[in-house]
């Protein structure tokens, strides 16, 4: 695999007319960016964890905002608030809020819009995936928010008493919880018991895939009605294993691309979870998107970590076979710079929406690819 990858990289580099050096350099894609949302003293966001557009061009932002808090309830603490889902029209004007105060909005992680314009939200802290119909009504709920957290504190994704707790030794790691004593770590039980899930995608038959996530290390597959079909993955560095399953997208041929962030790769599977290939040339993939249309591309963000602006931050455009077309951007706070990109919408190949954690901002990025780079 490794040799194949190098060969394909070299081939790509030669094809693009650049030289291969120890530090692979890819062509810069010229681009511009604007701040598309009309934000005011009255309409404001926090960390722009998720951004997605629907078929009409409306923009959905799932943001970490408000005051996430815990309320004392005897020996257990109950968590509330901290995320909102806002809808803007294509001109950036605020349209409405969806899901005000719903039970599962705690820490925004991702928002995606499916082909029927349903809006899907992934919440990292409630460990839930919530499907809203185009009118903004709740249509389907996956997972259940942990009832409460124990006192003294545990990470807020940890159930207090509904399930057996992992003994508190050092940092509690509920990964693999419920999958049985012999299950590999991170594999998780059949069903919906997510642990800090990150993203959602659909194949051509409407099956639902959830990347799960920070806590577990699996992909979970459900049928279009939400019935669990299968899991794959566990914590590790082998193929088919993950360390922080950060994102998931599916192309028109039903190839499943999984952003395996801390293994610094994208793994490609078929819809049954059979490993096909991997791309190791993308840095740490924090966000991933696949374009529609007859010739599809992937966008992958090698985001800077939230505590540093001094390296990484670029977004990479690649073909579905893993060859890099080019890259753009770097870490920073100015327009055209990126602050820990957590979400990319690429409904239009050359007009992206990018959600940033670090800058509390959505940018609309217009790519101006030179002729011959595609």
């Amino acid at each position: 695999m490794k040799r194949l990858l190098l060969v394909s990289l070299a081939a790509a580099a030669v094809a693009l007319g650049v030289s291969v050096s120890a530090q692979l350099s890819f062509p810069e894609i010229p681009y511009d960016a604007v701040d598309p949302l009309v934000l005011t003293r009255d309409v404001y966001i926090g960390e722009a964890a998720g951004v997605a557009t629907n078929s009409k061009g409306d923009i959905f932002v799932y943001t970490r905002t408000g005051t996430p808090h815990i309320a004392t309830a005897g020996s257990r603490n109950v968590s509330h608030g901290g995320a909102r889902l806002l809808q803007f029209d294509r001109t950036g004007k605020f349209v409405r809020e969806i899901g005000q105060g719903v039970y599962g909005f705690l820490e925004a992680q991702q928002v995606r819009v499916d082909t029927q314009d349903n809006v899907w939200v992934v919440d990292q802290m409630s460990s839930q995936v919530i499907k809203f119909d185009p009118n903004g009504r709740v249509q389907m709920v996956f997972g259940r928010k942990p009832e409460a957290m124990r006192v003294p504190n545990l990470p807020l994704s940890t159930l207090a008493d509904t399930y057996a707790l992992v003994p508190r030794q050092g940092k509690p790691t509920p990964a693999g919880r419920g999958a049985g004593p012999n299950a590999p770590p991170g594999s998780a039980a059949p069903g919906e018991n997510f642990n800090r899930p990150t993203d959602v995608a659909w194949d051509s038959k409407g099956n639902i895939y959830v990347s799960d996530g920070y806590g577990n290390s699996r992909v979970a597959k459900y049928d279009p009605n939400g019935k669990w079909l299968k899991n794959w993955g566990s914590t590790g560095t082998e193929t088919g294993q993950f360390r922080v399953v950060k994102g998931i997208v599916i192309d028109a041929a039903d190839n499943v691309y999984v952003a395996d962030r801390d293994n610094r790769r994208i793994q490609v599977f078929d819809t049954e979870g059979t490993f096909k290939t991997q791309f190791r040339n993308v840095g740490s993939p924090w966000a991933i998107c696949v374009t529609p249309g007859p010739r599809q591309f992937l966008y992958v963000s090698n985001s800077n970590p939230p505590n540093n602006l001094d390296y990484d931050g670029e977004i990479i455009k690649m073909s579905l076979d893993g060859r890099i077309v080019g890259k753009f951007g770097r870490a920073g706070k100015l327009l055209k710079e990126f602050g820990t990109v957590n979400s990319i919408d690429c409904r239009s190949e050359n007009e992206l929406y990018v959600g940033e954690i670090g800058n509390w901002r959505v940018q609309k990025v217009t790519l101006k690819p030179a002729a011959g780079t595609q």
Binding site: T67, R196, N308, L309, G332, N359
Partner: protein
């Protein structure tokens, strides 16, 4: 100057033997009293609007007044120049958790410093967030135990309970940071790290801090840091090279530098929370007016709960050096204070 430094070190060494710091009687003697009056009922509050602990206060160029305070939640209020309530800004903003300071820059951008979210947030004059520095810890990590011993090494782009913000003429950003770290960080106008002075470790040597609690920048770009726990103001040039130490005005909780051709430095030797120990009421609570070189022009005020007295001053707006807006933690109050003109006197 050298003598001041040495004297300061001795005092600081004694201080750090205890826990944190004790509020001290200022060493300056024979300081002229500046006559002043506090305007009664200056702030006109709607019936359902209250101040909490009034941490920061600042005016913009139009005279509108911003108060960043801890009520039920942390809130940012705007008043017109007559003290009439105008509006609240961005209730429930992700960066609002535990107010510490508000400042307005020369372009009327409003900056808040929040020690609960470890963030510094820049609003444009219309109230839109245009830059954030630092990052709120993610809620999912749950409550974090208060660390014992030394805090972890400081990071360029993260803060440990930051306290204040200021800017030089080029728009470079200076942040005092704070209660957990003990440093001052310089960023460029776009938020990129340039350099720092101090570290995660508390210290009493020159270039070290024991709770840098406030800062102000003069027209030449010099940075005056209220090194509260060390009972001194450390003055740095624009590259954070130490230029002077003023150690005779007590424990500076708040510093402010007035604009204009003749700038003044105000520094508050605030009385401690809850007036504990009780004797502190008698020896602290005054505000000093100084020349930038450290010579004291005079002082005014003392600890007390009545109008015209102060209860733990935490914010000073000195856009007009003869008409200050002063916010107090313990009194849940903001006062407008008029200083009468004084002859130029200086003392040590």
């Amino acid at each position: 100057m050298k003598r001041c430094v040495i004297g300061g070190l001795v005092v600081a060494a004694v201080l750090t033997a205890g826990v944190g710091f004790a509020q001290n009687k200022a060493r300056a003697e024979n300081v002229p009293e500046i006559p002043f009056e506090s305007v009664p009922n200056f702030f006109k509050m709607p019936p359902d609007v209250y101040f909490g602990e009034s941490m920061g206060v600042a005016r913009n160029s139009k005279g509108n007044i911003f108060v960043y305070h801890r009520r039920d939640d942390t809130r940012l209020f705007e008043f017109d120049p007559n003290g009439t309530f105008v509006r609240e800004w961005t209730p429930g903003l992700y960066g609002f958790e535990f107010a510490h300071k508000v400042r307005v820059d020369r372009d009327d951008n409003v900056w808040v410093v929040d020690e609960g979210t470890n963030m510094v947030i820049k609003f444009n004059p219309e109230g839109r967030v245009v830059m954030v520095l630092g990052r709120r810890p993610e809620a999912i990590e749950g409550a974090v135990e208060t660390p014992e011993g030394d805090p972890p090494a400081d990071e360029r782009y993260l803060f440990g309970r930051p306290t204040d913000v200021g800017w030089d003429g080029q728009g470079n950003i200076f942040i005092s940071d704070g209660y957990i770290n003990h440093r001052v960080v310089k960023f460029d106008r776009n938020g990129r790290f340039i350099r720092k002075v101090g570290s995660n470790l508390r210290g009493s040597e020159p270039y070290q801090f024991n709770t840098p609690h406030s800062l102000a920048v003069d027209a030449q770009g010099n940075v005056y840091v209220a090194d509260r726990g060390n009972q001194r103001i450390q003055v740095f040039d624009n590259n954070l090279v130490l230029r002077a130490i003023y150690d005779n005005v007590g424990n500076p909780w708040e510093v402010c530098i007035s604009p204009g051709p003749h700038q003044y430095l105000f520094s508050s030797n605030s009385n401690p929370d809850s007036n504990t120990p009780a004797s502190s009421w008698d020896i602290t609570g005054e505000i000093y007016k100084m020349e930038l070189d450290g010579r004291i022009v005079g002082k005014f005020g003392r600890a007390g709960k009545a109008l015209g007295q102060f209860q733990t001053v935490h914010g000073i707006d000195c856009r007009n050096p003869d008409e200050l807006i002063i916010s107090e933690i313990s009194a849940w109050r903001v006062q407008k204070v008029r200083l009468r003109q004084t002859t130029t006197t200086s003392s040590r």
